[in-house]
């Protein structure tokens, strides 16, 4: 079937089998390999992308189910060489080691900050409870989200 998806604001079209999972459509068709394909069982969160702004696990969603919806991947965060504050926070606070979980962590926490600009540490931990980091870097991930929240708040005050 012909599936046309809007990914990061661009229309991407391809003839695929209905059984193609969103994660593979994203990685294969526009070649956006930032979205990682991890456990394949909706446990690890490496494949999280945003659908109409809501984080979802792309390994457990059919590409065909996303027709008519806006998909955003980790590649959408950086704009014209400017990192999103959440990316900058991960950089500043050393919130990644091997980096495999990072795309899902970034999209999950970006969505958190969009909903809740000043989350508590507990709210951050709850938000990422569906995202597994096997380098055991949760402490720094929480610190990175806090960094991003604080810097976004400061930026908002400036304008």
């Amino acid at each position: 079937m012909q599936v046309t998806l809007t990914i990061n604001g661009r229309e991407v079209s391809r003839d695929v089998e209905p059984r193609q999972l969103l994660v593979h459509f994203i990685r294969d068709t526009p070649g956006l390999t930032g979205t990682h394909w991890g456990c394949d069982t909706s446990n690890c969160g490496a494949c999280v992308v945003l659908m109409d702004g809501t984080p979802i696990k792309s390994c457990t969603t059919l590409a065909a189910m996303c027709v008519g919806h806006e998909i955003a991947t980790v590649e959408s965060l950086e704009v014209d060489g400017e990192l999103d504050p959440i990316q900058q926070g991960f950089h500043e606070m050393h919130a990644l080691h091997c980096g495999f979980c990072t795309p899902g962590m970034l999209m999950t926490t970006r969505a958190l900050l969009n909903e809740n600009p000043r989350p508590t540490d507990q709210e951050i931990r709850t938000a990422i409870s569906g995202a597994i980091c096997r380098c055991t870097g949760y402490q720094n991930i929480v610190a990175a989200v806090r960094w991003a929240a604080e810097h976004e708040a400061a930026f908002q005050q400036e304008i």
Binding site: R19, T61, L62, M65, G130
Partner: protein, 292 residues
């Protein structure tokens, strides 16, 4: 790579259209909503439907939590995240939020639906016990119209419900009765895991007496366990720790857990008892408007 076996995909534009498609495919089609039970089953070849009928576009018909005619009515396509955030449910049946906080994780809860959870009828799934405890009734629609069934009749067997091949679950109805209190307790190995054991309890207290009670268990049998014997014990009695301990004893006797990676049988029976006692204690405290 885990990929489902091939199937044909179509999107429903109405509930009646979805039913017509089910009828046309004569038992070879399945409804897909959030997909967080069905897609993993299809990846593992535990399910291989030839047709999938996507009902995600039917939010206008099937996604709502509303009070009507002395009931709370929940559309089958209502997602876990919306059950967790519902003020109406929090006010009348706080066990929904108790359960939703520990069902999978927030990202999964953005997609999974109450209808999907109930129709999956996994014995370890929390909402089946929740709905059994509050004596919910579910509306099942087919080409010849609607019927309403109790949770006892809805649960037919492991992964089996009263919903026929050419029918669709459309709504969950919760009775609104005075003096209600409810709670759900779950023990899991780690955040987001299935329960080792979980208990849902609801009590309706009138004049210091339990007028009615509902108790159900998750993950300690091949289906959701309806604790009829405990409900009988509770009905007409005054709430007390001793009474709840007796009901908890029944829970440990009337469940039928299997030993697996989550624990041995005696541990699960013990947990069923402890979860039941805690759920009843908190349900009762909530009914008496005192948070335990």
């Amino acid at each position: 790579m885990q990929t489902p076996a091939p199937f044909q995909y179509e999107r429903a534009t109405s509930v009646d259209g979805a039913i017509a498609a089910l009828v046309a495919h004569d038992g070879d089609a399945r409804i897909i909503a959030g997909g967080h039970s069905l897609i993993p089953m299809m990846k593992l070849r535990l399910a291989s439907p030839e047709h999938l009928i996507d009902i995600n576009d039917l939010e206008h018909e099937l996604a709502y939590i509303a009070e009507r005619d002395g009931e709370i009515r929940i559309g089958a396509l209502t997602r876990h995240v919306d059950l967790l955030g519902s003020d109406l449910l929090a006010r009348h049946y706080p066990l929904f939020a108790d359960a939703e906080e520990v069902i999978a994780d927030p990202v999964v809860r953005n997609r999974g639906t109450i209808g999907g959870s109930l129709c999956q009828a996994d014995a370890a799934e929390d909402l089946s016990a929740v709905c059994a405890a509050v004596k919910a009734r579910v509306v099942i629609r087919g080409r010849d119209g609607e019927r309403t069934v109790s949770m006892e009749d809805f649960h037919v067997g492991p992964y089996q419900t009263a919903v026929g091949d050419d029918e669709i679950l459309t709504e969950v109805r919760l009775p609104l009765r005075s003096g209600a209190g409810s709670a759900h307790f779950k023990t899991e190995r780690r955040a987001g895991d299935w329960a080792i054991a979980a208990a849902s309890a609801a009590v309706w207290i009138e004049g210091g007496t339990i007028a009615d009670a509902g108790v159900a268990l998750s993950a300690v049998g091949t289906t959701t366990i309806h604790l009829a014997r405990a409900e009988e014990l509770l009905r007409g009695a005054a709430p007390s720790d001793e009474l709840f301990a007796q009901a908890a004893q029944i829970a440990s006797e009337d469940c039928s857990p299997s030993a697996d990676a989550r624990g041995p049988v005696d541990y699960k029976r013990h947990l069923a008892s402890v979860m039941t006692r805690r759920a009843l204690r908190r349900a009762s405290a909530r009914a008496l408007a005192m948070e335990a």
